[in-house]
Structure formats: structure tokens, C-alpha cells
Symmetry: C2
Amino acid sequence: MTKTARKSPEEKLLLAARRLFCQAGIHATGITRILEEAGVARQSLYTHYGSKENLLKAVLDTEANMWFQWFDLDLPALKCSPSQRILALFDLIEKWFEKEDFFGCIFVNAVAEHEKDSGWVRDMAGTYRDQIIDRLGALVMESGARNPDVVVQKLGLIIEGAIITAMVTQNSKAAHIARLAAEDVLRCTEWLPSKAETSASVAAMESMEST
Amino acid sequence: MTKTARKSPEEKLLLAARRLFCQAGIHATGITRILEEAGVARQSLYTHYGSKENLLKAVLDTEANMWFQWFDLDLPALKCSPSQRILALFDLIEKWFEKEDFFGCIFVNAVAEHEKDSGWVRDMAGTYRDQIIDRLGALVMESGARNPDVVVQKLGLIIEGAIITAMVTQNSKAAHIARLAAEDVLRCTEWLPSKAETSASVAAMESMEST
DNA sequence: ATGAAATTAGACTGATCGGTCTATTTTTGA
DNA sequence: TCAAAAATAGACCGATCAGTCTAATTTCAT
């Protein structure tokens, strides 16, 4: 096996902050508690991140990168139709919900806790959200939906609903329900004739509901 | 016109707290700011509510009552089929989103900002959520769906997705998208033969998409 | 009109917060 | 091996927080 390289204070802080910010809230989590959780000295936080605010920004970056990896690496690696790739996203989300340290989405937490009219939190969350929706949009375009914009908005709404439902109920089955709802949306979607993919192929999905 | 009865300090505090808790976050909103916004003396908050925590509880109560009024008064007053009542809920939600002081759902804010494993916030939000879902479930049962539980979970997820999407994007059209997604779900739902309502009636809904 | 009750203004407290500073110990690379 | 860099422990600071207290003022029922 590879050498179990000890985690750097930088990484330990990032992991502790991500968990505590989600589990207990951002404002409710004091610097001191993050330091205890990370097992790191007070000064290390400020040499590496400069402020609690910058630490939060770093946490938001890592969460966004999780989504980017799903869309840019994990989903393209699947050998299946675009429609099935869309549905496979919900399986990735389910794995996320199943982690023992899942306590909701840090983006939702951050927006909920901060000023909603303006501010860097809103800007940052909006920017990353747009980038994620763009990737989802590319997937929907690829699938040949006739009204891709509406489909993307429906799916995005279902994904956000799944995240909130999983956070509130602490039950990962929200991802499965979300997948079922997404299948309903796709089943009601009209498709362009050009692509080989037909509405029949979407109807066929029903038989391959996973796990 | 009726006498414009001056608002009591109690009510002014409740309204100011609700807006500020949603607009800027609960922890981020100090007592002093609520008092300024309400135009009320510091002591009045403590004679009427006893603590910031109790004020938050009162705000959560009023938000829950909004939902109860929708389900217990507004929707039953509509002369239409249960399926159409379900869809009409999304119109009520849209009116909610359109209010200029809509900044998300205080329940989501509260859960997001507090400990997610335990605590009174989680308990209170869970209890009220169950009561709201129960009412939605009664509506779905009434409509004669073959698998009402799954339908309720799909619809609940779509509703929560709409709330988050509207909060993040500050756009009330999320309610309309949610309604379209809900129509897809209902269109894919199997119905009991006993009731007069048939899948044909659900298909007919398409032509009456409002606004 | 009047007295009790409600409301107000604002100083004040103890606790906690994010952040700084210093001195000591540990780690690391040549 | 040994000096430089990184990380540690923990005291400390000013600001802000929720909540208390007192005294003056307004409201309102009789």
C-alpha cells in the first residue's frame, strides 16, 4: 500500500470546518471548536487561511469541486446513454447522502445564514450554481430533449429538493425518490427526432432502476 | 374603512423578526437590529417573548400556520378535483415567492443554522414538517393515486426544491417550474379505478396551466 | 381625570466571538 | 547534524452578543 502520508494542518482544518459548518451551522461554529476538532493550533488557521471567512470560501471550493468531478469525470466515464447519465447523477448523490458526515449542502447552509440580497456568499454560491447547472444543461442537450431549458430547471429543482429533504429527514432515500421524480420528468419530455435516442428508450429505463 | 388598529409591540416584533431572520440569517441578526426594525423597546421583547429563542419559536409557529391555512382553508375552498387542488398548491406557493419580503423558508434557515443531529430546532421543524406532509398526503389519497406514499414524497421533494431554488435565485418562477414537474409526476402516476378521476383527467390538466 | 399597566430609553453585565501576539517545541531538508 | 521553517500552546484584545436593570413616559380603562 501507499505511504499513509499524515494530513497537513491545512487539510485537517478544511475537513473539520466542512463537517462542523454543515453539522452545526457556520455562525454557530466557533474557531476554537474547529481547532479542537482538527487537532491544530490556533495560529495555523491564520497562517494558512487568514480568517474564518477564507476558510469558509475554501470549504465552498471543495464542495463545488465535488460536483465538478461528478460531471467532468465520473459521469462521462459511464458507458450509457445521456439520459441514463442524468439518472446516474442521482446515484452519485445517494452515495453522498449515505456518508456518515453528510449534514446537508454547505452552499445551502451558507446562503441560508447570510444576507440574501447581496454579499460575497450569495455571489459565490450563485456563480458555482450556474457552473453546475451549465454542466447539467450540457447533459440534457446531449440527450436531445426538445425543451432542454425547462428540463434542466425541473431537474435542478429536484436535485435541490433532494438535498434539503435528505438534510431535514437525515435519510438518504431522498436521492432515490428524486431519481423516480426525475424519471417521471424525462418520461414526460419530448425528444428531438434526430438523435437515436427515442422516448421508448426513456420508457425502458424503468426496468433498470438501480440498487 | 375599518379603524387601522395600531400594531402591538408583540406583532411588530414578530414581523420584524420573521423578515430579518429570513433575509439575513438567524445568528447573524442581533436583538438590537430586530428592535430597530420593529421600532420597539428592548424590554418589550423580553416581556412578550422572554428570549430570542422564544421569538424564533413564535416565528416558526406563524410560518407553520401559513401552510396549515393553505391546506385547511384555501385549498378546500376550491371547487375542483383533488389533483387540481394539488397543483393549485403551487400557485399559492408562487404568491408566497412573489412577496417582496420573501427570503426563503424560516424552517430551512433554522435547520441549516443549527445542530442537525438533535436539539429543539430539529424537533420542531420535523414535527411541523410531518404535519404538513400529512395534509399533502390526505390530498394525494383523495386523488386516488395507487401508490400515494411515493407520490407524496415526490411532491414534497419538489416543493422543497422550489423553496430553495426561489431562495437562491430570488426568482418566483421556481414555483411554476415546480408545478410543471409536479404535473409530470401526476401524469406518470397510476390511479385507482374506483374514483371517478382517471388518468385522462390528469392528462387534461396540461391545457389549464395557469398564468 | 386618574391611577395602574404597558411601553420606552438607554446604561450596564458577563460571556463569547474572531483575531493577534509571544514564546516554545517539533519537523524537515541539506 | 543542525539551522531554518513549521507548528504548537495559550495568554490576550477589542468588539459584539443576549439579556438585565432602572427610571421616565405613554396608554388606557374606569
